[in-house]
Subunit: 341 residues, 2 copies
């Protein structure tokens, strides 16, 4: 048997925990997981996982649990893979590339299991010689309390190369295939090689640039948004039409049923909150720039009218500003008072 | 001295309390005020008012405080005026006309000190022989606790006739002038006759259909919305341009400085929440149909593109639905559960 690959998994929330589990059950990877807010809970009690793919697992631990990005694995080996499953909050420093820099060695393959468009650009700039892979996950998972993970849907992870003009395409494709084999080796989850990364990313944006911010802004989950007066026909479908048009202008023809597929993807009566709504309910930043701002800018650059997404974008921007103010990232003039005459 | 007019004032919140005070200090009106949620507090302790027009007044009481709409005043006289200062929540029953019906006698003048468009239509239908006056108040007032009223700005109340084709215009105009005299008699406030009710209502919509819902949806007050990244240029100005265009198409040319006037109306550092934001923070219904839905429908009927307001409208509609669900006005299927295999 070959030596296990050494994987650094950055982001120990719900998606990260399931990814770590998928990698370790295949027995081809040893995972070092970087936890932030849930570090103490996971370090002391491991993960308690209730998963449609893996069943119920108590106190599960990956090979190593840390709370900062290390330079090497426990044996001093450079990481073969740095897998990023954090939120991609492009408008709040530090950039992700700064965060992972200590762990990126000469041959490290970077895997971005993250939503949105153009997320590879800062990675190409920071690590011009490293292969960067795209991961698009169709997982439905949440962390109700630190370390308590629920996965309600069978995961499908699409892995493909972000084409870096400085590198050989064959090398990137081979790296993607190797990751797919390693990730799916346990047989509990579905991981597919994805040649056309752009198509897959635009496809997911039909959900993520539309339903996701609309649910976040209205504080309604994906079940309620389907029941609320006028929300699907007045908001969700117009937004989705704009994304589908922008995808087409970018060269990606999405299937004709895509809007209905995405609207009906989550079972109505599970009342699942999409990721941005989960983030707002936890007072976390929302990743609106990569999943809403970038497709908006791409579409408008190509002349596609996107009036619905433009309003949703600026509403998210204002909501993000509010979170920044609450955390002291921006400051405002002190409150005055009126004088009763 | 002539006998005081008998006024029923429906709605005992901040705007209603200041209106009652203005009417009573002029000594030409005896006010019966109808309180709802703050009835117990006002009945027992009166109003505590801190006002830029009236100074600080402790335990102030209008002539009579009730919690249902009576048929007559205390002396059995029919009301000369029924003044409505409630929120106009057109999409939540019962209609306001049903609420005030017991108090509307043959010669009762109905005064709607309320925001939005087309609010006179249900009144004309319900009371075809009664004069209905428009009141547009530029007040900035809030009720921090039941009966605790703060008025930060000098009030200006514009009173004019809603033209009812069944009635004589002279009669309506005379009724408006009489109300203006009575309301302003105390000399503490400004009340002006307003011949062109439509112009005044569209003018206020530049604030109310734009800043008001944008602040409500983002949970940002009028100070913060001016500081938040991109909110004025990306949201507020585009929305205001649409309202100004719809007003123009409806025959009302608003002044060229109107957008800036409205954006800068509230002093930034008072961080004042507009009415819809106050309502949402108290889990109250929002009056989005009269201040946003009606101008949107009017503008679009006249061919004015209003993409920003259309999105804001549907977001408000979804938020209102959420409030309706919370209060049991709509019901949803029970929550299901997924099975971990």
């Amino acid at each position: 048997m070959t030596e296990k690959a050494s994987v650094l998994l950055v982001g120990g929330g719900s998606v990260g925990a399931i990814a770590a589990l998928n990698l370790e059950v295949g027995n081809q990877a040893a995972v070092t997981i970087v936890c932030r807010s849930n570090y103490q809970a996971v370090k002391h009690n491991g993960y308690n996982i209730r998963s449609c793919d893996h069943g119920t697992i108590q106190r599960w631990e990956p090979s190593r649990i840390v709370n900062t990005v290390p330079q090497t694995d426990r044996d001093g080996r450079p990481f073969d893979y740095v897998v990023c499953v954090t939120k991609n909050v492009a408008d709040v420093p530090p950039p992700l590339s700064d965060l992972i820099r200590p762990a990126v060695a000469e041959r490290t393959v970077i895997v971005l299991i993250q939503n949105g468009l153009n997320i590879e650009r800062p990675m190409f700039a920071a690590f011009p010689a490293n292969v960067v892979l795209s991961g698009v996950s169709m997982i439905g998972a949440s962390e109700s309390k630190p370390g308590e993970i629920e996965q309600g849907f069978n995961d499908i992870l699409y892995i493909g190369p972000f084409r870096n003009p400085n590198l050989e395409g064959d090398q990137e494709t081979a790296a993607a295939h190797a990751f797919v084999r390693m990730y799916g080796a346990g047989g509990k989850t579905q991981c597919e090689f994805n040649a056309d990364v752009g198509w897959t990313r635009w496809r997911k944006l039909v959900y993520n640039a539309c339903l996701n911010p609309i649910c976040a802004i209205t504080d309604l989950d994906t079940g309620r948004i389907r029941l609320a007066d006028g929300a699907i026909e007045g908001l969700v479908r117009p937004a989705m039409k704009e994304i589908i048009a922008a995808a087409k202008a970018s060269g990606y023809q999405l299937p004709p049923t895509i809007a209905d597929d995405m609207i009906n993807m989550d079972p109505l009566d599970l009342y699942l909150p999409p990721s941005m709504l989960q983030d707002l309910r936890k007072d976390n930043y929302i990743e609106y720039e990569t999943i809403l701002g970038e497709p908006l800018r791409e579409g408008e650059k190509l002349g596609v009218p996107m009036p619905t997404l433009r309003v949703l974008y600026h509403l998210c921007q204002a909501i993000q500003w509010k979170n920044k103010e609450a955390r002291g990232l921006v400051s405002i003039p002190p409150k005055g008072d009126f004088t009763a005459s």
